[in-house]
């Protein structure tokens, strides 16, 4: 084996990839070749020397400085980050939003104006002001039920006047012989519907 090949084997050895056969051959060569032996030792020492210098540590505050150098979070990102951290809060908020939204639309559907009476021909409706008007000098025989509007009683009602989510205004010229009743269902209605929706979700 010549020295060139021996050198190759030396490097194989240092790579920790030398086969048994090659190692034996190398050993034999090194026994009688002073140059190669010297080279082998020198290479081993080189490796060891370089490896010994591996104690290098990052400066103190390095991490802090890296963090400080990060791009400032845009407001949108900060918001996104918060949302990611609190998924339940986000879900709950969405739930409340949707619930409220649906409540509002149901409210609007349910709360259309209604007027119930046997004698509608005697009663006026002012859609602009959302008022029901019993004109002065008119006489209504029977009950009047008004929903989601006010009623001005300027005339005479021989019966009960009921206003649901509205007010009854009795003029001096008017009269009501029966009961007058204002029912404010709004609060009760909201509570009722909340329960209704809750039972739909959690049967």
């Amino acid at each position: 084996m010549d020295c060139k090949q021996a050198t190759r084997y030396i490097h194989e050895y240092l790579d920790e990839e030398i086969s048994e056969q090659h190692e034996m051959q190398l050993d034999e060569h090194l026994l009688h070749c002073v140059d190669c032996k010297q080279r082998f030792r020198a290479l081993q020492q080189t490796v060891a020397f370089v490896q010994s210098a591996s104690h290098i540590y990052a400066p103190l505050n390095f991490t802090d400085r890296v963090l400080a150098a990060l791009p400032k979070e845009s407001y949108g990102h900060i918001w996104k980050r918060r949302m990611r951290r609190h998924p339940f809060l986000v879900a709950a908020s969405l739930f409340v939003l949707i619930m409220t939204g649906s409540l509002v639309s149901v409210w609007n559907e349910d709360h259309q104006f209604q007027l119930t009476s046997d004698q509608l021909n005697k009663i006026q409706i002012d859609e602009v002001t959302r008022k029901v008007i019993v004109p002065a000098n008119s006489v209504v025989n029977g009950d009047i039920v008004v929903r989601n509007a006010d009623i001005d009683v300027n005339g005479h009602v021989h019966g009960n006047v009921t206003a649901i989510d509205g007010s009854i205004y009795l003029a001096s010229t008017g009269s009501i012989t029966g009961e007058r009743e204002e029912i404010h269902q709004a609060v009760e209605w909201v509570w009722y519907n909340m329960k209704r929706i809750a039972y739909l979700i959690v049967p």
């Binding site: 020198a42 490796v47 400085r65």
Partner: protein, 200 residues
């Protein structure tokens, strides 16, 4: 390909990293700080040995982590994180070395040289007196020897003998075939031997 990703050392390390990285991908900066702590010494070691002085090493090391943060979305978790970060660190270091070379080189032939040795016409801004004090005589000698290598060879010797990576790991970091890595290690060893001038 995934087999190369597994290291003999620290599979436990892999799990900690995995969790941290998942959080970082979601923008968790605290998790990122932990990741920096885990890797700062390794990264700094590479950049310091590549560049030979503390100031540049810090800049490059910091830039490495900033790149990690900026590109965390494109990091593929099926590969080792260390491979990726070593790659960024060595590439940035090599870029920095080449930048300096372009500015100061008096010999145009030296640019883009395939050669092994780094003939510094300019005095290496490296090893200032402070650096010697900090790192000690031993480190200074080793650094000098490493400085004599061109960037390509320097990075390989650093990864092999200072970071203790296997040949296949180095091959993954530098995206070069193992045979090329081997050849360069052999040549690198010979050059260092000559430079350090050991006699038995």
């Amino acid at each position: 390909m995934n087999l190369h990703g597994r290291s003999k050392r620290g599979n436990h390390m892999g799990l900690i990293e995995e969790n941290l990285i998942k959080k970082v991908k979601k923008g968790d900066r605290d998790a990122f700080a932990e990741l920096v702590d885990l890797y700062k010494d390794k990264v700094y070691k590479v950049s310091y040995r590549m560049l030979g002085n503390q100031q540049e090493a810090e800049d490059v090391a910091q830039e490495t982590f900033l790149r990690v943060y900026a590109n965390i979305d494109s990091y593929d978790p099926s590969y080792k994180f260390s491979t990726w970060i070593y790659r960024i660190a060595s590439n940035l270091s090599i870029d920095q070395l080449r930048k300096k070379k372009q500015i100061y080189s008096l010999d145009k032939q030296v640019e883009g040289t395939e050669g092994l040795e780094w003939h510094d016409r300019l005095s290496d801004p490296g090893q200032g007196p402070e650096d010697q004090l900090l790192t000690g005589e031993l480190q200074g000698q080793v650094q000098e020897a490493i400085n004599s290598l061109t960037p390509k060879y320097r990075s390989i010797m650093i990864l092999r003998y200072l970071e203790d990576l296997s040949l296949s790991e180095i091959s993954e970091v530098l995206k070069l075939p193992v045979s090329t890595i081997k050849t360069r290690i052999h040549r690198g060893r010979e050059t260092l031997r000559k430079k350090l001038n050991f006699h038995s």
